[in-house]
Symmetry: C2
Subunit: 145 residues, 2 copies
DNA sequence: TTAGATGCAAATGTTTTGCAGGGCT
DNA sequence: AGCCCTGCAAAACATTTGCATCTAA
């Protein structure tokens, strides 16, 4: 009676045990914006199961090291965030006003990796682009000041 | 007898008092790679003056908010780093092996800001590109394993 | 059965803050 | 003089870790 969900496959392929904690965290993060450990903790609790905060930290760390999640500090507020690493390539725009994170589908990076290779002898594994500015809403508010 | 160094001008232009702490920190950061608060603390101490660690934090925070420094968490090790925001546009490549940070002069970003504007109505103030991979040295070591 | 996962509580390390004194303008 | 800046020590947070218990393979 194998209930092979996508989540199970992901974990299985990386030699990771399929546990409640891992499934809950992946389901919480899937298709959503980057979240902090304590946000994940709360979301999981609201949904079904109980997970300790340290398990959230440990699990997110493990999944990040396996390349399933991406750990980042987009907002530079001293809190790490984890996001599901989609196969598609996604970057973010961060509003300096409300600190909201907007996903950006366009990646202008095309052949840059090759340049890094030839010019710096640097093997590019991944890259991240972050854009800082003001979103539509906050732009309005700025004008009102 | 105005000894108007560049540092003084920078501070003056932003309506910031010219204090020992600010000068020391700016001089320490100028033209160097991103540094943590405690690295700055040590470097300043080794050079001339005494600064408390909390002053380093407070000053870096202030200078970041004025756009003189850039605060970042490039390495995702839970420690914030501050760097002097040069007029020229510089990005970084971070080696996943030794965690060293390499400055990259090339910016492939040309007209991307305009796209952000028209497609997302997002006012771009600045952007950051981070590249993760293996530097020349660590590439060698990887092969040896 | 057994290595690996989890929960709990305590420890660690970074960053922030309150308050009193000192320095810049 | 007046307000902002700094030092010190304590507080607040985020994250990690040790150890005992549990669980997936």
């Amino acid at each position: 009676m194998p209930d092979n969900t996508i989540t199970d496959k992901i974990l299985g392929n990386k030699n990771l045990k399929i546990t409640k904690a891992r499934k809950l965290i992946l389901e919480t993060l899937k298709g959503s914006l980057p979240k902090t450990a304590s946000e994940i903790f709360t979301l999981v609790r609201d949904k079904d199961g109980e997970l300790s905060l340290s398990t959230v930290y440990r699990t997110c760390e493990t999944l990040s090291q396996k390349g399933i999640l991406l750990k980042s500090n987009l907002i530079d507020d001293g809190v790490a965030r984890y996001e599901y690493l989609e196969t598609e390539h996604i970057h973010h725009a961060i509003c300096l006003g409300c600190k909201k994170i907007f996903p950006i589908e366009d990646c202008p990076f095309g052949q840059f990796d090759k340049l890094m290779q030839s010019k710096y002898d640097f093997d590019v594994k991944s890259h991240r682009i972050e854009i800082y500015g003001y979103c539509h809403d906050c732009k309005q508010k700025q004008k009102e000041k």
